[in-house]
């Protein structure tokens, strides 16, 4: 179930970015990053940048994904620590 949800969210992120549904994309990215980590978002961002030809100028989605990965990986352990304290 968890894997199915992860695949669904991952597809949702790609699909919503392609349709420019940025709010929905932001929501999906936040949920996916907190639950499953942001490492898988980097290949998606690289592929999206390649698809839209951003490597001919500036692959800003990929760069943003790398920064997002670093930030999320710093934040995630603290969120889980808080969860543990609460429980």
């Amino acid at each position: 179930m968890n894997t199915f949800l992860a695949v669904l969210l991952y597809s949702g992120i790609g699909f919503s970015i392609m349709h420019n549904w940025l709010l929905f994309a932001g929501l999906c990215i936040s949920i996916f990053s907190i639950r499953h980590g942001a490492i898988m978002l980097i290949p998606l961002a690289i592929v999206l940048d390649g698809y839209y030809g951003n490597y001919y100028s500036l692959p800003y989605v990929s760069l943003l994904a790398v920064v997002w990965y670093i930030v999320i990986e710093q934040i995630r352990p603290r969120i889980f620590d808080l969860d543990m304290i609460r429980s």
Binding site: I42, G50, G53, Y55, Y56, V66, Y69, I70, Q74, P77
Partner: protein
């Protein structure tokens, strides 16, 4: 000590992943064609799904597309409704302001008689209406006939105690002065028959379709709008054809003004004035005292 080691290892992993990603990005920037080809291949399934979503006639994509279209239509209609509500408010304010200014100028609202149309063209000759109110109800010959509040369509030409006939402005031979709002000119208007009237305007006057046409002698007398313009450069005049906005067949109620609008020619007015003066003078003659002269005759004041 163990926790610290674990933490350091995690940090190292993060930076390693970030470094590898940056290396791939830099490589991609160096050889963008390769990465674009790879990305296009990888995105093919998504692209196919996307194409299916955008163009397929299956139930799910059609439903989603229709929903999106309906949502945009609702938004558009809401915007139009808001604009329309504002326009209605503006119109009401202008009507109220107009009434107030008219009251300040001493213009009072004319009393009208409401009448039902009991016969119209097809049953009657064209450009003629029969209404169910007559002289018993205050209708008199020459009174203007209106549709709604301010659209004048004709004059009463025959009135019996119980019913009347109204001749439309579009009757052939009907002539009246008209004011064209867009061009701001007063011209003569003539009925052409078949529900159409015509104005003649000199060449050069900016006549355009949709210009409102008023009859200044009837208050408030909007007749209709210019619906067709005949303008040949070889002619000294251009013609504007006017038809009322409401079809004759859909007229069910009209209102009749109580003030006759029949125009009199200067000769007629002169003759009538002369008659009145003569009548008053003969009345004075009959009433005036006679003076007896020395030779016994009598002399009246002229």
């Amino acid at each position: 000590m163990k926790v610290r080691l674990q933490h350091n290892s995690k940090q190292r992993k993060i930076f390693r992943v970030a470094g590898i990603s940056m290396a791939i990005i830099v490589l991609g920037m160096i050889a963008p064609r390769i990465i674009s080809t790879v990305a296009t291949t990888a995105m093919t399934p998504i692209h196919v799904v996307n194409h299916w979503f955008e163009n397929s006639s299956s139930i799910v994509p059609t439903f989603l597309r229709d929903r999106r279209m309906l949502q945009s239509q609702i938004k558009d209609l809401e915007q139009r409704l808001t604009i329309s509500e504002r326009s209605t408010l503006t119109q009401a304010r202008l009507v109220e302001e107009n009434d107030r200014l008219r009251r300040l100028l001493g213009a009072t609202k004319e009393e009208r008689v409401v009448a039902a149309v009991i016969a119209r063209p097809n049953e009657l000759p064209y450009d003629l209406l029969q209404i169910d109110q007559g002289t018993d109800h205050g209708v008199e010959i020459g009174a203007p006939v209106f549709i709604g509040k301010d659209m004048v369509i004709g004059l009463i030409v025959h009135a019996t105690p119980k019913y009347s006939f109204a001749e439309l402005i579009t009757t052939p031979g009907f002539k009246a002065s008209a004011f064209i709002a867009g061009a701001n000119v007063v011209v003569s208007m003539e009925g052409m028959g078949g529900g159409v009237a015509r104005v003649r305007v000199p060449q050069g006057v900016p006549l355009s379709i949709g210009d409102l046409v008023y009859l200044p002698s009837v208050e408030p007398g909007v007749f209709g709008s210019v619906s067709y313009i005949e303008n040949l450069p070889t002619q000294p005049e251009q013609y504007g054809y006017i038809s009322p906005d409401t079809a004759l067949s859909s007229i069910y109620w009209v209102s009749v003004g109580k003030q006759s609008q029949l125009a009199r020619s200067p000769e007629e007015i002169d003759a009538k004035t002369r008659t009145l003066v003569e009548q008053s003078l003969s009345f004075i003659n009959n009433k005036s005292p006679s003076t007896t002269t020395d030779d016994g005759g009598s002399e009246s004041f002229e």
